[in-house]
């Protein structure tokens, strides 16, 4: 145990990298079958290792900062000037908490499925393709494990490289443009994140008491919770960090790269992009903006939330008018990620839990939708909604899965999507009140109402798409379905094997979310919202009288986490009542009032 715990995350991060190198060492004329089996086995091994880490994390003890499975204090990476003031102390430091563990699981879960889904669709340059998929996995896993800001940035940026090639080489007809746009957009934002990161390190060194130039996330979080960053500095830094993260999410006005990238990417690229990569942006907000810049986040939250709501509605409207099924799902991503952002910026336990849950749910259901769309495309070579129709008769299995994931995506109670949506709206609506042991957040009822319209629209366009594709008279392009690549008319066993685990997870999370929520809330209370907790010791909210904008309300429930859980459990039981309630946004408030 002691031998394994400090190393298991490192092993998880770099196992796919080793796999990628091993794949590249295969002979040039190696059979594609062997290559893809090797890649699949390798990613499955990574997943199993991640499951093991999950077991260790949920059973094991966390360090003082709430991170488990850390490699001690990490290894020195950039150093210099030991023993004098301002020594550089930037480390390879990894660890997970309740939030990052689940995202780690999501990544390790989706990658093998994405690889498996590429078996028939990728026929050229097979070796490089799977090597890049594994490289991409290393980058994503690294982001979720990093406890050092520079390390985080390194992995965050590195994910661009493999995906750039995946889109650019194996994408659709406009792949070159899509890959470039995706890359340039993301880089343009992330250089500002880079500047922000460096300034954070300097500021901590100059004003903190460590006396070192460190980028350790726990150290910076501590520094921030002691009110280390003045408000004006936080406001600037928030914008700098948000520039990179918002483009990655993508937030409303800077989302334009996403539909193009999704449409042109190969299926597996879309799956990973929607499933995990967009979450790097929201995870950045969770891990960095919220805990390190709590007041800056508070100050900008209304602005960010308005953008998020614009994204929710705009994304939904844009999705509605798409003829391309893949583009429709892509725009639905814009809409859904807006929801996720809204939850995070409610700065309340319910909302942030909802936001993180939304990340996981969106990762499952949208990734699955892209998979289904990819499977249709492989058979019909079109994604035009006008050229295909009535496929339910031809492909009953596909129809089954498409409907399951559509329902999950639009938030049908009993499936995973509902819970995230509900918690986000709950958190948003009750954000302005100080409750659940947290100080008042920046949002309010109006935000929830505005966002709730997105849910209605979401149901409209998704169901409309289902109706057109699945029901009505059978419409097929000529000479299709194309089963030349070893496919059958309906889904093959392999394809069912890909979709079934995701569907299972959707149902599981929808029916019994308690362990997931508890684990998430542990991480959120410990590392993300710590600065907002009323009883956070010498923390920032109560002690600092300088922060006039933080209202501390005296009605504080004794146990901070309990009420949200109650609300969750209750909603799971009273499914239909709640679903009707949500579109009005009303009862959410009374649900949140539970605690007080």
């Amino acid at each position: 145990m002691d031998l394994i715990s400090p190393w298991i995350l490192t092993a998880i991060i770099f196992l796919p990298l080793v796999g990628a190198v091993a794949l590249l060492l295969f002979a040039n004329n190696a059979a594609p079958k062997r290559l893809r089996m090797a890649a699949l086995m390798w990613s499955v091994a990574t997943f199993l290792l991640t499951l093991w880490a999950f077991g260790l994390q949920s059973g094991g003890a966390a360090d003082a900062h709430g991170f488990a499975l850390t490699n001690g204090a990490g290894f020195r990476w950039l150093g210099g000037g030991d023993g004098i003031a301002g020594a550089i102390d930037i480390r390879y430091h990894v660890g997970v908490d309740g939030v990052s563990m689940w995202l780690l699981l999501l990544t390790a879960f989706l990658t093998p499925l994405a690889i498996w889904a590429s078996f028939t669709s990728v026929t050229n340059r097979v070796k490089e393709y799977y090597a890049l998929m594994l490289l991409l996995e290393t980058g994503m896993l690294g982001v979720f494990c990093s406890l050092d800001l520079l390390l985080f940035y390194v992995f965050f940026e590195f994910t661009l490289v493999p995906l750039f090639f995946l889109i650019g080489i194996w994408g659709g007809p406009e792949r070159a443009r899509a890959a470039n746009k995706f890359f340039i957009f993301t880089v343009a934002g992330s250089v500002l994140t880079f500047a922000g990161v460096l300034y954070i390190a300097y500021f901590q060194y100059a004003h903190g008491d460590t006396g070192t130039f460190t980028l350790s996330i726990p150290v910076l979080t501590d520094f921030a919770s002691q009110g280390g960053f003045p408000l004006d500095v936080q406001k600037w830094l928030f914008i700098a960090l948000a520039a990179g993260f918002a483009i990655k999410v993508p937030l409303f006005p800077v989302h334009t790269w996403l539909p193009l990238a999704h449409t042109e990417a190969p299926t597996a690229g879309s799956v990973i992009l929607a499933g995990v990569l967009l979450k790097l942006g929201t995870y950045g907000f969770c891990r960095l903006s919220l805990p390190i810049l709590p007041e800056g986040t508070m100050a900008w939250a209304p602005f960010m939330s308005v953008l998020a709501i614009c994204g929710v509605i705009y994304g939904a409207l844009a999705a509605w008018v798409q003829d391309d099924v893949k583009k429709l799902v892509a725009y639905s991503s814009v809409s859904h990620m807006g929801f996720c952002m809204l939850g995070l910026f409610s700065l309340k336990m319910a909302g942030v839990t909802g936001g993180v849950l939304y990340m996981l749910n969106h990762g499952l259901s949208t990734a699955a939708l892209f998979l289904v769309v990819g499977m249709i495309y492989e058979r019909y070579h079109t994604r035009d909604i006008n050229k295909i129709g009535g496929l339910a008769k031809q492909m009953p299995w596909m129809a089954f899965f498409l409907i399951v994931f559509t329902l999950s995506s639009i938030g049908l109670p009993g499936l995973n999507g509902f819970l995230g949506e509900f918690l986000v709206l709950l958190g948003t609506a009750t954000s302005s009140q100080a409750s659940d042991g947290f100080t008042a957040g920046p949002l309010g009822f109006g935000y929830a109402v505005a966002a709730a319209t997105g849910i209605v629209l979401g149901a409209v366009y998704m169901l409309w798409m289902c109706r057109r594709v699945l029901f009505g008279p059978l419409t097929e392009p000529p000479h299709t379905p194309d089963t030349s690549a070893g496919l059958t008319q309906d889904l093959t066993g392999r394809e069912i094997g890909i979709l079934a685990p995701i569907a299972l997870m959707c149902v599981l999370i929808g029916v019994y979310p308690k362990p997931l929520i508890e684990s998430l809330q542990g991480g959120i209370a410990g590392n993300i919202l710590a600065a907002r907790m009323v009883d956070a010791g010498d923390g920032y909210a109560g002690a600092d009288d300088a922060d006039a904008d933080i209202v501390v309300v005296d009605a504080v429930p004794a146990v901070p986490i309990e009420p949200v859980e109650d609300a969750v459990n209750e909603t799971v039981i009273t499914l239909d009542a709640a679903s009707a309630a949500i579109s009005e946004g009303g009862p959410g408030v009374s649900g949140g009032g539970h605690g007080s």
Partner: protein, 518 residues
């Protein structure tokens, strides 16, 4: 002063000098049969650099010593020897295939002389020695450009470079004469036992002597030319395009490195006094901002890969000028991250490797039996030459400042040095603004670097014309070494930063008292 101690202190320089002469002489005795058999001169040059590098690595970092009049051996010398000779080794490797048989001796001895000039620049402590050292870097490059390929464009760019270089040298000398005249008639730069120096005079100087400022500005103008900094950058694209690619890699490193070291030395004479040197600091600030912005903006418009890399070279000078402007971290003024000179020195060596790597790949592929130049020639390179394409991608990602390459760490050091100057520094706010300009510029840079990579990977090769690999095994080794260096330095930057820190202290001009009185 005895000769053996002198040679001991300057052993790598002497090895280079002897090696350069031997290589030159080896060419003077024609081989028994003309153009037959492998020439010895290339391997000789390689061995010379290797031995010099070995001696540098094995001997301890030199302490401050002004044993030799006119020279100040310091940790800076040690760093430049280490970095310069390491990149020099790669340069020789990448150039082994370039010259035609009868010009090999001249070619390699010129590379060695140019390297020698760089090493001497690092220890020069006298205006005249500094001038000679810098010209020793530049003069061989004029020859190298014209020898590098049998093309009219090479001669044209050699002549262009020569005339403009002579003009720049004249400006530098003119500036030196002002410094000499206005600061009490000394040529020694930093105090040494051999006599009074300029730095003593500047310490006593009042709130800015106009003549000294003019002198410094003129001298810096000459140095800017070596760095290819705006407004003395106009030659770079033409000259880089005209020369053969491996020599272009050399042009982007040796004169630039010498220029930055010389600039640091000149500013050290004035004690890095941002308050008194406000005019000079603003001039450098504006030049840096323009250098980055013009370099990156114009590179976007190019379609010739060598011109793209030439403009990128200008842009990188701009980034390094941020480090120059931040200056060395003096004790009590902030931690090692604040050290702009250490950052600049680290960046320079990393830049040398990644830039040379990119140019080396260009010289390793031919289309229509000519080394590739146009962006279109690279289409589909990843299919035809996967390894070369990978090397190019890694080097270009490094130029872009992307993980997992040392280019990212170079940017980390440079930009955080500017953020870390601290509010007490009179130039703190402009420096932070400059760093933000730099960061935004690196996003612009990403756009054109990406074009190179996208052309290699995302374009399907046209079937009609084929690219063929050219150049020898040595070139392959050289560019592999550049690529691996870029990756290794990302994982273990300490190999360089460990030495860069003391080197920066050596130009902080505070060691007047601690100077060894030998």
């Amino acid at each position: 002063m005895d000769l053996s101690a002198c040679i001991g202190a300057l052993l790598p320089e002497f090895i280079l000098l002897v090696g350069a002469c031997v290589v030159l002489l080896a060419g003077a005795t024609p081989p028994a049969r003309a153009d037959q058999g492998p020439s010895l001169t290339g391997p000789l040059a390689l061995i010379t650099v290797l031995v010099a590098l070995g001696v540098t690595i094995l001997s301890a970092t030199p302490a401050e010593s002004s044993l030799v009049p006119g020279l100040l051996i310091s940790p800076l010398t040690g760093y430049v020897r280490l970095g310069g000779l390491f990149i020099g080794l790669l340069l020789v490797l990448c150039n082994l295939h370039v010259p035609v048989a009868r010009e090999r001796a001249e070619y390699f001895s010129m590379i060695l002389f140019s390297l020698l000039g760089l090493l001497l620049t690092a220890s020069a402590n006298d205006l005249l020695v500094l001038f000679f050292a810098i010209e020793l870097v530049s003069v061989p490059t004029y020859v190298l450009i014209s020898l590098s390929r049998e093309d009219r464009r090479a001669s044209e760019s050699a002549i262009k470079y020569f005339f403009l270089g002579a003009f720049a040298a004249g400006m530098m000398l003119y500036g030196f004469s002002f410094l000499y005249g206005s600061l009490g008639g000394h040529t020694t730069m930093i105090d040494s036992p051999h006599g009074p120096a300029l730095s003593t005079a500047t310490a006593a100087l009042g709130a800015g002597s106009a003549l000294a400022t003019i002198g410094l500005l003129l001298a810096l103008a000459g140095v800017f030319f070596k760095m290819a900094a705006v407004p003395f950058h106009v030659y770079a694209p033409d000259v880089y395009e005209g020369a053969a690619s491996p020599i272009t890699g050399l042009l982007g490193f040796l004169p630039k490195f010498a220029g930055f070291v010389a600039a640091a030395k000149l500013l050290a004479v004035f004690h890095w006094d941002a308050e008194r040197l406000q005019v000079v600091y603003w001039v450098i600030w504006i030049a840096a901002a323009l250098t980055m912005t013009i370099g990156n903006a114009v590179a976007l418009l190019q379609s010739n890969v060598k011109r793209i890399l030439a403009y990128s070279s200008i842009a990188h000078s701009g980034y390094m000028m941020i480090g120059l402007l931040v200056g060395p971290a003096i004790a009590g003024e902030g931690g090692p991250m604040r050290d702009g000179i250490a950052a600049m020195l680290f960046y320079m060596v990393v830049y040398g490797a990644m830039n040379l790597g990119a140019f080396a790949v260009l010289s390793a592929i031919a289309r229509r039996s000519e080394p590739v130049e146009d962006l279109r020639d690279l289409e589909g390179l990843s299919v035809r030459q996967p390894m070369l394409s990978l090397a190019l991608a890694i080097c270009v990602f490094s130029l872009m400042g992307f993980p997992p390459t040392a280019g990212l760490l170079g940017k980390v050091y440079i930009f955080s040095s500017a953020f870390s100057v601290g509010a007490g520094h009179p130039f703190a706010t402009p420096l932070i603004v400059l760093a933000v300009i730099g960061v935004l510029n690196s996003a612009v840079g990403a756009a054109y670097y990406l074009r190179i990579i996208a052309t290699c990977y995302n374009k399907t090769p046209s079937e009609t014309e084929d690219t063929t690999p050219i150049g020898g095994t040595a070139l392959r080794w050289g560019l592999a070494a550049c690529t691996i260096a870029v990756l290794i330095l990302f994982l273990w930057p300490g190999m360089l930063t460990r030495n860069a820190r003391p080197a920066a202290v050596a130009v902080s001009a505070t060691q007047v008292e601690t100077l060894a009185q030998k």
